[in-house]
């Protein structure tokens, strides 16, 4: 349902949104699926070796890492944006000291990175807005 909608909105391109939406259930399945299967089999009296139990528990414990990796990707963009804006600020301060105070006025009009952040990329949001307008 969602895939077809996003596909339709983005003209057949799958964006970061789809990646997040698809991968989280995938992580849940990979991390908790084996545990559920192994524990259910144990309850039916089927023996399992220690190695298998250890692997299954390892997957359960790695869920947080995988999730952080998936959602961290969007946060990475914010951090890189803010670093870029910091570097820009430094450059503009240097320019300001060279060319005068008028540049600082322009800079003050720039938007803060944290205010514009969304889980949807800016590009996707704009596309989404345009497509819904035409619809």
């Amino acid at each position: 349902m969602l895939i077809s909608k996003i596909y339709g909105l983005q003209g057949g391109r799958a964006g970061h949104e789809l990646y997040v939406l698809m991968i989280y259930p995938g992580i849940l399945l990979v991390c908790w699926g084996p545990t559920l299967i192994v524990q259910t089999l144990m309850q039916f009296g089927i023996e399992s070796n220690d190695m298998l139990v250890d692997i299954v528990l390892l997957l359960v414990n790695m869920q947080g890492f995988f999730d952080a990796l998936v959602y961290g990707k969007s946060i990475k963009n914010v951090v890189s944006d803010s670093i870029r804006s910091c570097l820009k600020n430094e450059v503009s301060t240097e320019e300001e000291s060279l060319f005068g105070p008028q540049i600082s006025d322009k800079r003050s009009l720039g938007m803060n990175v944290t205010d514009t952040y969304s889980i949807l990329s800016e590009h996707s949001e704009a596309e989404l807005h345009n497509v819904t307008k035409t619809l």
């Binding site: 349902m1 969602l2 895939i3 909608k5 996003i6 909105l9 949104e17 939406l21 698809m22 989280y24 259930p25 849940l28 399945l29 908790w32 559920l36 524990q39 144990m42 309850q43 039916f44 009296g45 399992s48 139990v53 250890d54 528990l57 390892l58 414990n61 790695m62 869920q63 947080g64 890492f65 999730d67 952080a68 990796l69 959602y71 961290g72 969007s74 946060i75 914010v78 951090v79 803010s82 990175v113 944290t114 205010d115 952040y117 969304s118 889980i119 949807l120 949001e125 989404l128 807005h129 819904t132």
Partner: protein
């Protein structure tokens, strides 16, 4: 009569194995057996069981937990530093990570406070079950919110914050809290004298009802997400 009703016995005729002739659905298996001394709920005591160590004490076994904990901490710190929680979607991502934070840091707690009693393990089970269920619930709600935004993009700043307050918070926080508190009474984790840590007991030929109840949220979440996607 009441006790008889509580002791549900399901005959598994569809399983051909001789080993699995009957399956005892023992609702009160996890309650304190001393409360039910005259009723056949503690039949598990004589049955063979398997110990699942959910709180390993060795550092080598805690490496995956440590990796997860570090990754989650970084994400949470960045979310807080850059104030990403102002956006509804980012707030939900933060909620998922806070749930994971509780789950993983409780596991790491054994390094600082090694378990010493049943009560200790039962207290540990509260944040573990809460974290597990809350993360699953929030991820499903994330997918739901995404569907709403896709169908109605203008509702991101108006409808979504309201929905988070009205519906998502009870589903993502309140229900897992109830489950977490319930896990304290159902003795999901017990203290093992031999292993010196908290374990989960799995009995052969017995259905582990609390385990399936706690896991059920994950599968509802998974099913919901796949339905949406």
């Amino acid at each position: 009569m009441c006790l008889w009703i509580l002791s549900i016995r399901i005959q598994l005729k569809f399983i051909p194995s001789n080993k699995i002739k009957s399956l005892h659905v023992d609702i009160f298996s996890s309650f304190n057996s001393t409360m039910f001394t005259n009723i056949p709920f503690n039949i598990q005591a004589e049955e063979p069981y398997r110990e699942m160590v959910y709180f390993p004490l060795q550092l080598s076994s805690l490496i995956p937990v440590l990796i997860s904990a570090i990754a989650i901490t970084i994400v949470i710190l960045l979310s807080l530093i850059f104030k990403l929680y102002r956006r509804p979607f980012s707030l939900m991502v933060l909620a998922i990570n806070i749930a994971h934070f509780l789950f993983h840091y409780t596991k790491l707690d054994v390094l600082v406070f090694p378990p010493y009693s049943d009560l200790h393990c039962r207290v540990f089970s509260i944040p573990i079950i809460f974290g597990l269920q809350s993360a699953a619930a929030w991820s499903a709600l994330f997918a739901h919110a995404f569907l709403i935004i896709i169908t109605n993009p203008s509702s991101c700043d108006t409808l979504l914050p309201l929905m988070i307050k009205k519906y998502y918070m009870p589903l993502g926080v309140l229900l897992p809290s109830v489950s977490g508190i319930m896990s304290f009474f159902t003795r999901h984790f017990v203290y093992s004298e031999t292993k010196g840590t908290c374990i989960h007991l799995i009995y052969a030929d017995h259905m582990d009802i609390p385990f399936f109840v706690y896991m059920y949220s994950n599968w509802i979440s998974l099913h919901w997400q796949y339905c949406l996607v």
